[in-house]
């Protein structure tokens, strides 16, 4: 036999497979494309974040003190360290809150970073514009500033834009934008950077230093970082290496998430590959029987079919890699846009090879079972009886091969993820979920088949009335199950009111679904995964938006004014002149930093600061005092007393305070009666407070104005005494929403030395960020949904090929192609609707879990989303079926009836 027999056989078989081969290649390509696109995007993102990590860290060591800012006096230690040559240089950054009116006339709040001449210490930050900019060169002028890309977007400004900036203790300062900085992490920071000279013109208030950057002479920053941790126990101190590790950890987690999504797409597409290979080989059972009858051994058949699988895998892998490269550009851009990062697109050769390898590997894994089955059946069964043994007779073999497939997929996943345990968890978890889902879907399809027109019409209509009433109630009660009820209503009304030829498409559709329960369930599962991703993205985004609006409504405060004590009288007068004021409350806030507890100075040991992550959280909980009018019983809304007592008139003029109950735990283990010495951030004054109670404030009960208040609650006079002229007066106003925009700008114009923050605008900004995150989720889930659609298309295409004879028969009886196409479309509308309905159930459950465990607030499920998901899923399945089924429907009846 010629050596060329083998490749010839493989190529001809694939050619003969025609549409089936194409469907298999498409499924493999979808999986590979997902891996390549998401891998490329996440690698580009990682490269962007770690390429300039020293500059992002600010220097060899960064000291972040946002929660408890440093006073100027606290910085004296750095010149001393420099004089002793323990450090090579340092730069401190002071922060001040500010606002400006954006291009659309709304007030935008942001932070101003005031930097000294030695800034930047760690190298130039990444500039969006001008490219390769330099801080010193761009901030030469007396009113020149730099802004982050997020702030530029929020204000609607660009290079050369001039704007008026308001800050507490100033009179408004006109500045010019000279540069736009790229974001350095995922925090969406709205920051303006200016020199000390410009900062002095902006505000006369004492500086509060929120970051200090340090360079070390030897490059060995560890000992210096340890020394700094002792000096600043409630600060977050990070070396370049720690920053790099943290960034890598963050991007690694993100990359893992992207790869998990890609593997999910690969798994989904693999289901399609399995279906297609099964169909390819089942069709050739007679040929296989003949090959065996003339002496071909099982091994030879494995080689022949394996060769086909390899060819399909390579073709699909190459096609998928090319598609993935095209898609990855869009995914990277959307990610960069949503995360406000400057992400240079980078195509990695390894990822391209990986795409082809993934195509090959996944085809081999998913084609294994069909190949083994095809090569294993006894020819006599096929040649004599025209059929093989029932599947149940080969259950042990099937289970063994299925286990092998799982092992292969674990190996493939582990190679991609670089984490065998995670890969094992993913594959086993997905398999268990797929089995459960498959059983649920099989049950749903079986249940669908039981639905019949009732013998008694009145009884049927009574059920319809009950169903419609339930649907109306669900709509009025904004139930998440509205979409599911509408689907049930539609089906029941169809069964009840349609007869004859109008009911036939539904009957044929249900029977066809029941005829291939395994494939239908598998198709449903694959489609369900995509639809569930879509449903979850939509529900979480919409739910959070609704929750934010509800929080705003609950709060009652929609405008906040912050000024210094000197400006409070004029601010009060300006507030009285506003037309829309409904409620007003005033508190005094000072920024503090703990320095001793019960007389013992804070050290690293007592604070437990590890220098990374959320180490300064305890410090943040002691990072400021909110002064209340305790003489008149004023308190903060939404707090619950956990221990001790609330503040009352007898606490007026004392240093008694309430603390957050989290401070009862480590590292401080505070208790009632303890005294804490704090240092005010601006003035540097120190003072002691005594703990008389602990409170708790659930996330859900926090209003927006709580962002402007400090965590230690005490008497107003205590705050004023400690802060002096550096204290901030916070006025929380409830304004008639119709007059909000007008009153906000009037107030800001009337008191330029105050900060006026329109909370309605904050929600718009949060909405925008949520919208961008939704874009990311949409792009990522589109890949899962794409794989689901490919499987539906695959299922339809295979069903059309396998049902050619049936289609021909309908046509021979007198049905037109359009009638037959209607059967197919109704069948897939059912598939889509069912997947959508079950996705709603899954999303509702997932949202409940996310609300409970992650967000700790009940995020509502939008009923409109429920209806949209069911309709969209049905429509998507119908469109896919239309595209995949349109051509096969045109089969010539005589040809199919004679040859198939």
């Amino acid at each position: 036999m010629s050596v060329l027999f083998w490749p010839n056989y493989v190529v001809r078989s694939m050619w003969r497979g025609g549409s089936r081969t194409l469907v298999a290649v498409i499924c493999v390509a979808v999986g590979s494309a997902g891996v390549v696109a998401l891998q490329t995007a996440s690698l580009s993102l990682q490269a962007a974040l770690i390429s300039n990590v020293r500059a992002a860290n600010g220097g060899d060591i960064s000291i972040a003190t946002q929660g408890s800012p440093l006073a100027r006096s606290d910085l004296r230690v750095f010149p001393r360290l420099e004089a002793r040559r323990q450090i090579a240089g340092w730069a401190a950054v002071a922060s001040a809150p500010a606002t400006s009116v954006g291009a659309n006339g709304t007030l935008v709040p942001f932070d101003v970073d005031i930097v000294g001449p030695s800034y930047p210490l760690g190298g130039q930050p990444t500039f969006v514009r001008p490219q390769n900019g330099s801080v010193r060169a761009l901030l030469r002028g007396p009113r020149d500033v730099l802004v982050t890309s997020v702030l530029a977007d929020e204000l609607g400004i660009g290079l050369g834009s001039r704007l008026l900036v308001n800050a507490i203790g100033g009179h408004g300062l006109a500045v010019t934008v000279r540069g736009i900085l790229a974001e350095t992490d995922f925090s969406h920071a709205s920051v303006m950077t200016m020199t000390e000279r410009t900062g002095a013109a902006l505000t006369k208030r004492p500086r509060r230093y929120t970051a200090v950057y340090v360079n070390v002479p030897s490059g060995n920053s560890g000992p210096v970082a340890a020394r700094l941790r002792n000096l600043f126990p409630v600060a977050t101190i990070q070396t370049v290496q720690q920053s790099l590790d943290e960034t890598k950890a963050e991007t690694h987690d993100f990359q893992q998430f992207m790869l998990l999504v890609a593997l999910l797409a690969l798994l989904t597409a693999g289901i399609g590959t399995f279906n297609a290979m099964q169909s390819l080989l089942v069709r050739r059972r007679l040929e296989i029987a003949m090959l065996k009858a003339i002496g071909f051994r099982q091994g030879a058949l494995y080689a022949l079919f394996g060769g086909e699988a390899i060819a399909i895998g390579v073709a699909g892998g190459i096609a998928g890699t090319l598609i993935g490269v095209l898609v990855s550009r869009t995914v990277t851009d959307v990610l960069a846009q949503a995360m406000a990062l400057q992400v240079p697109y980078a195509l990695d050769g390894g990822t391209l090879l990986e795409g082809v390898a993934v195509g090959l590997g996944s085809t081999f894994a998913f084609a294994l079972l069909p190949i083994v089955r095809a090569a294993d059946f006894r020819p006599i069964e096929m040649l004599r009886y025209g059929e093989e043994l029932p599947a149940g007779a080969r259950l042990p073999q099937t289970l063994l091969v299925a286990a092998t497939v799982l092992v292969l997929f674990v190996i493939l996943s582990a190679t991609l993820l670089g984490d065998p345990v995670l890969a094992l968890q993913l594959v086993l978890g997905s398999t268990a979920a797929l089995i459960v889902l498959g059983l649920v879907f099989a049950g749903a399809i079986h249940g669908l088949g039981l639905v019949r027109a009732p013998r008694s019409q009145p009884a049927g209509w009574s059920v319809a009335v009950v169903l419609l009433a339930l649907t109306v109630l669900a709509g009025l009660g904004r139930s998440p199950f509205l979409g599911i009820l509408l689907l049930i209503d539609a089906l029941w009304l169809a069964v009840l009111s349609l007869t004859g030829s109008r009911l036939l498409p539904l009957t044929v559709a249900v029977r066809s679904l029941q005829r291939r329960p395994v494939r239908t369930s598998v198709t449903l599962v694959a489609f369900f995964i995509g639809v569930l991703s879509m449903a979850l993205s939509l529900t979480i985004a919409r739910g959070l938006q609704t929750e934010i609006s509800a929080a705003l409504a609950r709060n009652g405060t929609n405008l906040v004014l912050i000024t210094d004590p000197a400006g409070s009288a004029s601010a009060s007068r300006a507030v009285r002149r506003l037309e829309g004021v409904r409620t007003a409350a005033t508190q005094v806030v000072v920024s503090t930093r703990p320095i001793a507890i019960n007389g013992a100075p804070l050290t690293v040991a007592s604070s437990g600061s590890g220098g990374s992550g959320d180490a300064d959280r305890p410090g943040r909980l002691l990072g400021g005092i909110t002064g209340l009018d305790v003489q008149h019983g004023e308190t903060v809304a939404g707090i619950t007393l956990v221990a001790g007592r609330l503040l009352g008139p007898r606490d007026s003029g004392t240093n008694h305070v309430l603390l957050n109950s989290a401070l009862r735990a480590g590292p401080f283990f505070l208790k009632l009666g303890d005294s804490v010495r704090v240092k005010e951030a601006g003035s540097g004054r120190t003072g002691g407070v005594r703990v008389v109670g602990f409170y708790r404030r659930p996330f859900r009960r926090r209003g927006f104005s709580s962002f402007f208040l400090s965590p230690i609650l005490g008497d107003r006079r205590l705050a004023l005494r400690l802060g002096g002229p550096d204290a901030q007066v916070v006025m929380s106003l409830g304004i008639n929403p119709d007059l909000l925009a007008h009153d906000a700008t009037s107030l800001q114009n009337a008191v330029p030395g105050a900060l006026v923050i329109d909370i309605g605008n904050l929600t718009a900004i949060i909405d925008r960020i949520l919208g961008e995150l939704l874009d990311v989720l949409a792009v990522i889930t589109a890949i899962a949904l794409g794989a689901g659609i490919a499987v539906v298309g695959n299922g339809v295409a295979l069903a059309m090929l396998e049902r050619r004879r049936e289609i021909a028969l309908y046509k021979s009886i007198g049905f037109r192609p359009g009638d037959v196409l209607r059967f197919v479309l109704v069948e897939n509308a059912l598939v889509g609707g069912l997947a959508g309905a079950l996705a709603i159930l899954g999303a509702a459950l997932a949202l409940d879990l996310i609300s409970h465990f992650a967000l700790q607030t009940a995020v509502p499920f939008d009923p409109e989303v429920s209806v949209f998901v069911v309709l969209a899923a049905a429509l998507l399945a119908v469109l896919t079926a239309y595209v995949a089924g349109r051509r096969p429907i045109r089969v010539r009846p005589l040809e199919a009836l004679r040859n198939d």
Binding site: T507, R805, K811, S812, I813, G814, F815, L897
Partner: protein, 222 residues
């Protein structure tokens, strides 16, 4: 007698790799109403192609096919579908029942073609009872024997009372007893409904029971 089917000079050729193959070469014959005619000939003689053209499933390359006064050779696709629904019942060697539908539903199918919904809801059941399957209404094809499946196929061909029934080797998959019973059934139904039947067969016993036999060879009636 009224002519139920007229086939005049029908030719059919197909192109295969630049080569034209003539399957039918000027076939001409007529069938009177109520006549049962057997079409015999070796494999490849063109029987099935001729039946397909007469049933409106295929088109002739040239010539005329007239069924119940309608010339069908050049009807557009939609009109041809309507023609099949109204005028032709087909019985195949491999039964060709829809596996997902019950016997009753399979027989009801021709009555459910859009635009020709029958108001007689009991008709399919009556026809099934007529072919002796009144007790198998709810069974699916896989639950029926070969002979029973073919009787369901006959019932399906008859249910819309078409003037012409085309049967392509209807006894080919049946044993001789069952095959004979099926021919009895066709003759009985022919007698009762006055239906014209054209059936292709290799079985001379079946041909002998027909009114006449047409012999085909190399695409021609001999």
């Amino acid at each position: 007698m009224t002519v139920a089917l007229s086939v005049q000079s029908v030719c059919k050729s197909i192109s295969l790799r630049r080569e034209s193959i003539e399957i039918l070469r000027g076939v001409t014959f007529e069938l009177d109403r109520g006549e049962m005619v057997a079409l015999m000939g070796p494999s490849g003689s063109g029987k099935s192609t001729l039946l397909g053209i007469v049933a409106g499933l295929d088109r002739p390359t040239s010539g005329q096919v007239t069924v119940a006064g309608t010339e069908i050779g050049y009807l557009p696709e939609r009109a041809l579908a309507s023609f099949r629904a109204d005028n032709v019942g087909m019985v195949f060697q491999a039964y060709n029942l829809i596996p997902t539908l019950t016997a009753l539903e399979n027989v009801q199918l021709p009555l459910l073609v859009p635009g020709r919904d029958s108001r007689d809801g009991e008709r399919a059941q009556r026809v099934l009872e007529e072919v002796g399957l009144g007790h198998r209404l709810g069974h699916r094809p896989a639950q029926l024997s070969g002979g029973e499946q073919q009787r369901v196929a006959v019932a399906r061909a008859l249910v819309s009372e078409p003037p012409l029934i085309i049967a392509d080797e209807p006894t080919g998959n049946l044993d001789s007893d069952t095959g004979n019973a099926l021919i009895d059934l066709l003759l009985d139904l022919r007698a009762r409904h006055h239906t014209t039947i054209l059936l292709a067969t290799h079985n001379s016993a079946v041909a002998e029971r027909s009114d006449r036999t047409l012999h085909m060879r190399d695409g021609r009636i001999q």
